[in-house]
């Protein structure tokens, strides 16, 4: 058994490896990978990644007289974003941005406030009944947002009890409806996003160690402390997922505010849609989209940062949910 000059493996290039039991080379594996994953990846790149980049570039173009795109680099849209229109500075657009953030924030807070009792209630039901509650929770999740939005038009109509009560209380005029307006919008938003918040939160609440709550009750007594010390830490994962899938889409919401809101409750989404429909100002629409994307990324970054002290952030928003 000579091992003085034991030959290297003969006849095989230095790049040969065994990958998951198969004798091959990295290049052959990569080629095979590209054959399978290439077309879909190309599809996504050409139809999504590149257009998003183009959208960013489009923000620097401008609208011509007849609605066409003038491909000359200009910062006119950027200026408009900050508020400088041809009529001087007006804070209108900044208001819209702020309102989008505000509406998203309020919606999220309301959803959290409602979701905790809801999920707690479900989690404390006997197991057999819990299933029914969960089905009830999932069905609205899949109901179309257009339907849920316009249905509030029915409920808040002038001849229905809510509007009549408000008229009697003098909050609105006689025979008026409760829409368009902030109340209608928030009702629409919360009813749309509550399942988005409740389902991930439930996944965490279901796993709560109730003994810790008992211990907190002994130690602290006040409901607030019990919540902060025992409930919140244990439900953080689900809470974060719920917040992300509520806050981010709320910012970009178009349908609910379009149907239930008016000019006074316009959000970025509505403004963007306007540019691509009536105003025919694609460059400005692109600029608005870029601004929205920036807001989205910033929100995600904030949430990622806050989540890091909980558990290592997963890359998929669906972590453990599907």
């Amino acid at each position: 058994m000579g091992h003085d000059g034991a030959p290297k493996i003969p006849g095989q290039g230095p790049r040969t490896v065994v990958w998951l039991g198969e004798l091959t080379t990295y290049w052959r594996l990569r080629l095979r990978s590209l054959a399978m994953a290439g077309p879909p990846l190309l599809w996504l790149t050409l139809l999504l990644a590149v257009p998003c980049l183009l959208l960013g570039c489009l923000a620097f173009a401008s609208r011509g007289q007849y609605g066409e795109i003038v491909f000359q680099a200009t910062a006119v849209n950027l200026k408009r974003l900050i508020g400088y229109t041809t009529f001087g500075w007006s804070p209108a657009f900044l208001y819209i941005m702020a309102r989008s953030l505000w509406v998203a924030l309020v919606t999220t807070v309301l959803c959290v406030a409602l979701a905790y009792p809801l999920t707690f209630h479900i989690a404390t039901r006997p197991p057999k009944k819990r299933v029914y509650w969960l089905i009830l929770l999932i069905i609205p999740f899949w109901t179309n947002v257009v339907i849920r939005a316009y249905a509030w038009l029915l409920i808040l109509g002038p001849q229905m009890p809510p509007a009549k009560i408000a008229a009697v209380l003098g909050l609105i005029g006689d025979g008026a409806s409760l829409y368009p307006g902030p109340l209608a919008v928030y009702l629409g938003m919360v009813s749309t996003f509550l399942p988005f918040m409740a389902l991930p939160l439930y996944a965490s609440v279901e796993r709560i160690n109730w003994e810790i709550l008992e211990a907190a009750k002994d130690l602290y007594g006040s409901r607030y402390m019990i919540f902060m010390q025992a409930v919140l830490p244990q439900t953080k994962p689900g809470l974060y997922v719920g917040i992300i899938v509520t806050f981010v889409p709320s910012m970009a919401m178009f349908v609910v505010t379009d149907i239930l809101g008016g000019a006074k409750t316009m959000l970025i989404g509505n403004l963007i849609q306007q540019q691509f429909a009536q105003a025919r100002d694609w460059p400005f629409g692109a600029a608005l989209s870029a601004a929205l994307m920036l807001l989205t990324l910033m929100s995600l970054a904030v949430f990622r940062w806050r989540r890091r002290d909980g558990n290592g952030g997963g890359s998929s928003i669906f972590g453990g949910f599907d």
């Binding site: 599809w43 990644a49 257009p51 183009l54 707690f120 209630h121 899949w142 849920r148 939005a149 509550l194």
Partner: protein, 263 residues
């Protein structure tokens, strides 16, 4: 710990009411014998009759189903290929992160931005090939685009939960690459493929904003039809239509729950 806390129960029920009030209202008004106004005039099923006679609605329904079916089939195949191809190959971590970024775009980017970007893409592609005129093709293509990501993510998570042991065992047992793929890999990820496909299907049925930006006058889907009706003036047929859509959404969920309970 199972105390009966009335406040919690109350808020919980309120939350449920809030989520179901729209659906209930629509269902109630779909059987209300009144064309205008919201006063109760009597029970009737005539709106449902009109519904099934309305050509435009039937058309929209057919479009919606064709759209969902075709796009699901395409995106499931593409998404599965993407997941298997990408996550079973020795790419560097930097490249992996790039791929992950592209795949996660539809998850992170708000759907209105995606809708706009797709519209832009079709505009550009139209100059090259007229198949990209607004219509069913653009609708299907736009749906497939965001569906691929979801299918890929679901199949990927299934792939990652499989160990490498079975692959090595298969090779040790004389399996060729094709035999191994057909008899080991594919069967083991089948649950993921099915789950991904179902997710893609429901996402397509449910979509509004992306369809809204990328449809043509001949390719209206049900959500678009309802929206247009809301803008135009709501007729009770719309309530009937919405109720039907609600029920059709609820049924698969209940069936799925029944099925999973058996295991």
């Amino acid at each position: 710990m199972k105390q009966k806390r009335p406040l919690v129960a109350l808020i919980a029920v309120f939350g449920m009411v809030l989520m179901y009030a729209p659906s209930v209202a629509v269902a109630v008004f779909s059987v209300n014998d009144a064309i205008y106004g919201l006063a109760w005039r009597g029970f009737t099923l005539k709106w449902y009759k009109f519904l099934f006679q309305n050509e435009y609605i039937i058309n929209a329904a057919i479009n919606t189903l064709i759209l969902a079916t075709v796009s699901t089939i395409a995106s499931t195949i593409l998404g599965t290929a993407l997941a298997i191809g990408l996550y079973r190959a020795p790419w560097s971590p930097g490249l992996h992160r790039l791929f992950d970024l592209v795949i996660n775009l539809p998850v992170v980017v708000p759907d209105i931005i995606m809708a706009v970007a797709l519209a832009l893409a079709f505009n550009a592609l139209r100059m090259v090939c007229s198949i990209f005129d607004i219509g069913m093709v653009t609708l299907i293509v736009s749906h497939v685009t965001f569906q691929i990501s979801f299918v890929t993510l679901v199949v990927k998570s299934r792939l990652e939960s499989l160990g490498h042991d079975t692959d090595e065992a298969a090779r040790d047992l004389y399996a060729s690459t094709f035999f191994h793929f057909r008899r080991v890999t594919l069967p083991l990820i089948r649950p993921g493929i099915i789950a991904g496909g179902m997710l893609a299907f429901t996402l397509s049925l449910d979509d509004f904003i992306i369809s809204f930006f990328n449809h043509g006058p001949e390719s209206v889907t049900l959500p678009i039809y309802v929206y247009a009706a809301v803008k135009r003036g709501i007729t009770p047929e719309i309530h009937a239509l919405s109720t039907v859509m609600l029920v059709l959404t609820a049924i698969p969920i209940i069936i799925a729950e029944r099925l999973t309970r058996k295991f």
